[in-house]
């Protein structure tokens, strides 16, 4: 079922892409993909060397382990080899085998397993939060624009200003106190039944508020355009103007926000997962750094960086597709 939906989406995108595509844009896209690969390689390299340059190691603990134990562990994981050898081995393993190596802290588990486990939850939260943000953001934004300077508009603007300026750890704690501690209608822990509802809401509020404001201003701009006036003059119904002409065009800035929104959701989930004790990749990311679990630091960084790079790329290409006026250089 999911496969079918995906196929359909790909079909429509390729068709659309095909229509707008010319050699120049194709070259542009290729260039961007190449650039994305270089970006990820730079991220890998910088992270790798900075990580090893930071003091402290995976086997450092308050109770010092004996030198022979530490040496044995380092040999076991290849940490005794020169840094450039470790680096090349690492690159080779991810490129040829897509193998991020074993976790140094959670002995017996591989980074691939840990990431796969974490992604299950994180993707679920992230995707749902993104959808909620999009749908409600666009709806509220459109309402606010159409009721400009009326009471509804004012309320929406006040609330969205509050949401945009409140960091997610405060928002999370706030929702947790109200819904989990006072009303007791939702659990405070991600592992419980319905435990993901609060984290999803927390994560979606900021992008939703942002999209609301974005939609509102771009809708206002579009509503003032000549072609809307023409349509009105031609006697097109109000509904048709809004949905057929205005909304479609006012969504262009929203699409450009796609990449930054994803970046926000990825980084925001690091905080939100901590607040609600959700077993996502964000928590693994933070813990791997404090624990100097080198392969897990690398693995999570690469996955998160790749995600952001790809989403930005997709956002830019979509931008071109929905707005043919844009020329990609």
């Amino acid at each position: 079922m999911n496969g079918y939906i995906l196929m359909t989406i790909i079909y429509f995108i390729t068709r659309q892409v095909g229509e707008t595509m010319n050699t120049k844009t194709l070259m542009y896209i290729l260039k961007r993909i190449l650039l994305a690969i270089v970006t990820i390689w730079v991220v890998i390299t910088v992270t790798f060397f900075v990580m090893h340059a930071v003091p402290g190691g995976p086997f450092t603990s308050e109770k010092a382990v004996t030198e022979s134990v530490e040496a044995a562990m380092e040999a076991k994981y290849g940490l005794d080899k020169p840094l450039h050898v470790q680096y090349l081995t690492y690159l080779k393993d991810i490129v040829t085998k897509f193998d991020f190596g074993p976790s140094l802290k959670q002995r017996g588990r591989t980074v691939n397993q840990i990431i796969a486990d974490g992604m299950k939850t994180s993707v679920k939260i992230g995707v749902i939060a993104a959808f909620i943000a999009l749908i409600f953001g666009v709806v509220f934004g459109a309402i606010a624009a159409l009721r400009r300077n009326k009471f509804v508009d004012r309320i929406i603007m006040i609330i969205t200003t509050a949401f945009v300026s409140m960091p997610s750890f405060i928002m999370g704690s706030f929702l947790l106190i109200i819904f989990a501690n006072h009303l007791k209608i939702l659990p405070a822990n991600g592992a419980a039944k319905n435990g993901l509802i609060l984290p999803i809401i927390t994560l979606s509020l900021y992008p939703m508020a942002y999209i609301t404001r974005l939609t509102r201003s771009s809708m206002l701009e579009v509503l003032g355009q000549d072609y809307i006036r023409t349509a009105k003059a031609k006697g097109v119904s109000g509904m048709k103007i809004i949905f057929g002409h205005a909304l479609k065009n006012s969504l262009i800035p929203v699409i450009t926000y796609f990449g930054p929104m994803l970046a926000y959701i990825v980084t925001g989930s690091i905080v939100v997962e901590q607040v609600f004790a959700v077993s996502g990749i964000g928590r693994s990311f933070v813990n791997s750094i404090t624990g100097r679990d080198y392969p897990l630091v690398m693995g999570t960084t690469i996955v998160l960086a790749t995600l952001i790079v790809i989403m930005n790329l997709v956002g830019d290409i979509l931008y071109k597709i929905v707005d043919p006026r844009i020329t990609l250089e």
Binding site: G57, T60, K63, G108, A188
Partner: protein, 624 residues
């Protein structure tokens, strides 16, 4: 970062704390424990509970995902709690008829006395109970124990707690550099039911070790799969519970084993261990009734929680000391000073000891840390027992009328202050008008990034500034901090130590010259060859009498003597001497003895925690 495995405790929490009471029955630690136990029973044993209603399910949260649930590899207290529910060793901690926590035989029919051999070694023989099975139905045999011990101790596994086997004969040879991998501990399975193990010499805490996770049996075919301890399907154990499910970073569910030999005594059918280390999240879940037990609380909420939950907020002793550690190689004297060599070191010892007197520990405990900690003036923590069963720390120090090396009662603070100022006047210029010293160098106080440590650092900074001693505060992230401190790249640093078993040697052998935990750099670096220490053991029947020796010639010698001494009275006397010498350096400035804070719902009865800080939920009932 974990509980005690991130958070204050988080930082220090990665440590394993074992306390406890030796084989001799009536130690005062046990008495104390008995009283906490009684309080706990009173607080949780309300009338409704006595009707014996029990939901059979308990939801608890100790810390975040355990690094390993392999008994040999675990090094955290929360992991140890899980393992004690999943595995049975030769011995276990349990409640006796009087509700007192004590060591009891578990897989062994009895905890036997050792037989001394002519060469000084001691051999113990244990017989396994009948009907012991693994969770997959196979019988538990003596060779499973022997295999597990060799595995846990061996260099191939490189386990943090491999050294817990250093009392067993054969261990030193096994872990020596370049040792053959065929070397084994002196432990043997005589038949399927009989285990014979030989110790280098008799140690008072041997039975305690038998109840320690590293001593739990594992089966060779099970652990051949390196990832065996990460998934329920491959996790084969021999204890009261089996691992029902493990949703990584989320929750571990333990399910009661009906075929467990003592299944009739186990009242809890299911235990859900939620994996979180966010103390605010833990508290939210406790307050809304989702969880019945949480092992940590937000530091800034402690005063409120004490008022709000008088019966549910519990503060128990823990075998650890929070202290400020000086780098022995840090110069303290003013530039004008002409002292050098041993004289300089002796002067610095005196200065450090004087500075220790300037700190108001009661203020730190009552107004800063606020967790029921006990002001400390010695290094070996409260809860460790002396030879006669009394508290080791109460007998420490030269003056028998005061506890520890100096008086930390509230009334003594003013005198301490005057005494300290007078001592410091010998070395520094004192400006009577401002009441401050004018030529004490400025030091950098290093701590790991944490609100609790910061608050204590600030309190100390403010107190010392009052006499003109200036501390700059610097914080580092945990792993960086450990590395810096270990390497001796600091002047003054916060430090803490939790004992591994109830024997003062677990605190004292940190400070031998070669110890990896010798953060104070005693006997290392610039002062390695300085002959500034004296020790006289002649009254205890030893030849050692050294006037002005190096650290290695004095402290290391006493610790070595302690390790091979078999007469308990002499041994404890030696340990007091070692602590005397250690404290004379002033490098260790004790602040307080740690406490273990947790919250337990009023509906829970039958809970206890071992002196080691492991929590026991198997005999609990939840009246819900």
């Amino acid at each position: 970062m974990k509980k005690k495995l991130l958070s204050v405790l988080l930082a220090s929490s990665m440590l394993l704390s074992l306390v406890a009471c030796g084989k001799d029955a009536d130690t005062s630690a046990e008495k104390e424990r008995q009283s906490t136990q009684k309080d706990a029973t009173e607080s949780t044993g309300n009338a409704a509970n006595e009707e014996g209603k029990n939901s059979g399910v308990i939801n608890v949260c100790l810390a975040s995902e355990p690094a390993s649930l392999d008994p040999a590899l675990n090094s955290s207290v929360d992991g140890a709690t899980l393992i004690t529910h999943l595995f049975s060793g030769l011995a276990k901690w349990g409640l006796n008829a009087q509700g007192k926590v004590e060591l009891q035989p578990d897989c062994a029919t009895e905890l036997t006395e050792g037989k001394s051999n002519p060469d000084g070694t001691v051999t113990y023989t244990y017989t396994l109970k009948d009907g012991l099975t693994w969770s997959d139905g196979k019988p538990v045999t003596a060779s499973d124990f022997v295999f597990a011990w060799n595995r846990a101790a061996g260099p191939a596994l490189a386990a943090d707690y491999g050294y817990m086997f250093d009392v067993v004969a054969g261990y030193d040879e096994m872990v020596a550099e370049g040792a053959s991998p065929d070397l084994k501990l002196n432990a043997e399975a005589k038949d399927d039911k009989t285990i014979e193990v030989t110790l280098k010499n008799d140690v008072p805490y041997w039975n305690e070790l038998l109840a320690f996770p590293a001593y739990m049996p594992v089966r060779e075919d099970v652990v051949a799969n390196e990832g065996w301890a990460t998934e329920p399907s491959t996790y084969v154990c021999n204890g009261a519970y089996t691992m029902g499910s493990w949703d990584h970073n989320s929750v571990i569910t333990l399910t009661k084993r009906e075929d467990f030999i003592d299944a009739a005594d186990i009242t809890m059918n299911e235990i859900n261990f939620y994996l979180s280390d966010d103390t605010n999240n833990m508290l939210a879940n406790f307050e809304n009734g989702s969880w019945e037990f949480i092992d940590d609380v937000p530091t800034n909420e402690i005063p409120n929680l004490k008022d709000q939950y008088p019966s549910e907020f519990v503060c128990e002793g823990q075998l650890g000391t929070y202290y400020i550690c000086w780098n022995n190689n840090q110069s303290l004297l003013p530039k004008s000073s002409t002292l050098s060599g041993a004289e300089k070191v002796k002067a610095e010892n005196e200065i450090r000891n004087a500075i220790a007197l300037l700190i108001d520990r009661n203020y730190i405990v009552n107004d800063v840390a606020k967790g029921g900690q006990v002001p400390a003036s010695s290094f070996v923590a409260m809860g460790l027992t002396d030879e006669d069963g009394s508290q080791f720390y109460e007998n420490a120090g030269p003056d028998k009328n005061i506890t520890g090396y100096f008086d930390v009662t509230e009334d003594a603070y003013e005198d301490n202050w005057t005494k300290a100022v007078n001592t410091l006047k010998k070395y520094y210029t004192y400006d009577e008008a401002s009441g401050k010293f004018t030529d004490i160098p400025t030091f950098t106080y290093l701590y790991n990034t944490n609100e609790g440590h910061k608050a204590i650092a600030e309190a100390v900074q403010a107190e010392l500034a009052g006499v003109g001693i200036n501390f700059n505060l610097e914080n580092q992230e945990w792993a960086t901090f450990l590395e810096t401190r270990k390497a001796g790249d600091f002047s003054v640093a916060r430090n803490g130590w939790l004992g591994d078993y109830n024997d003062p040697i677990s605190f004292l052998d940190l400070w031998t010259t070669a110890s990896g935990n010798n953060d104070a750099q005693l006997g290392k670096g610039a002062n390695a060859e300085t002959a500034a220490y004296s020790i006289d053991l002649s009254d205890l029947g030893y030849d050692t009498k050294i006037e002005n020796g190096t650290w290695a010639e004095t402290y290391d010698v006493v610790v070595k003597d302690i390790k091979v001494c078999t007469d308990p009275k002499t041994r404890y006397a030696l340990m007091h001497r070692a602590e005397d010498l250690l404290m004379s350096t002033g490098c260790i400035c004790p602040i307080y003895f740690y406490t273990d804070l947790y919250m337990i719902d009023d509906t829970v009865s039958g809970f206890f925690s071992s002196p080691l800080g492991f929590k026991y939920f198997m005999y609990c009932k939840v009246n819900k």
